[in-house]
Amino acid sequence: MNSDTLIIADKSFSSRLIVGTGKYASPAVMVRAHEASGAEMITVAVRRVNITPPGAPGAPRAPKEASLLDYIDTSKYFLLPNTAGCDTADEAIRTARLGREAGLSHWVKLEVIGDERTLFPDTEQLLEATRVLVREGFVVLPYTNDDPIVCRKLEDAGAAAIMPLGAPIGSGLGIQNVNNLRIIREFARVPLIVDAGVGTASDAALAMELGADGVLMNTAIAGAQDPVAMAESMKLAVRAGRLAYLAGRIPRKLYANASSPIEGLVGR
């Protein structure tokens, strides 16, 4: 299976699992989970540097705190900056440009959030931001709804992959609309990454069995009781699901179909 690589834009990845860096109990656990996941692409968020508020002693000054990048070996992992939390196309575009300068790569996981409670994407703003960033030379990986029409529009706008959700971000509900993902799989000409909603290994396997080219997750691993063990289980699930998809499953039938020969039974 070594030749079964995930190719997005001009890069190929031997792992089809993409993992996040948020919500870990400690950087040490995150490092071990990344290792166990086998992932090669890792998402990061772009946020203001903490600067001591004016008026405080010695202010303004940034505190001497360890940076996330102190814990990520960038010779080993490819960083994918996200625009998480942005709720307009303009904000997401600004954040993407800053992420490009901070990470020196022109890839972005594009998120434009339409609603605080569901964190569902604002697909109108998402499309607009995709068009602008593609024009600027970005490799855009948009997080979107499991809506085949929106996915097609994003593809037409030049997205390098489409990343429909399986369920709301951080919900752990698993794939909610299997049939939409199947339809998206049929239409998609760019890689299809299921992003968000995975709760456990079987959810990731199901996404891959449906024909997803990859799965992106954060909370399912970082929030597990043992994130390192869960990261390994996700690695295996993504591989298992991929193999099952390539192998081609048997059709579902209502009635039994004996595995052993009917002829030659004793006493007949």
């Binding site: 996040g20 948020g22 995150m30 968020a45 004016p54 000054r61 960083l79 901070a102 968000a196 954060n218």
Partner: protein, 83 residues
């Protein structure tokens, strides 16, 4: 207030106190200064951040050349954990 403290240190150069919007906060700084000098003053490693100056993201190579002016809006960001 920081700007005033700057005088006490007996800096040999004349300076202009600047008020800028830094990451959303109003901050006083002794000027004139470049973006590189601003980062140094804040003890920020320029290799780990990206800077937006009046809505324009700055290329790292230009940080030494861009001068911070009164009223400028500056955003300094870095990578944090996220999904």
């Amino acid at each position: 207030m920081c700007a005033k403290m700057g005088i006490g240190l007996g800096t040999p150069h004349p300076y202009i106190p600047l008020t800028i919007q830094l990451n959303g906060d109003r901050v006083e700084m002794p000027g004139p200064l470049t973006v590189s000098e601003l980062l140094a003053r804040l003890a920020i490693d320029a290799r780990r951040v990206a800077v937006e100056h009046n809505l324009v993201v700055l290329k790292r190579a230009t940080l030494d050349e861009i001068i911070v002016h009164e009223g400028d809006q500056i955003e300094i960001v870095n990578f944090v954990g996220g999904g």
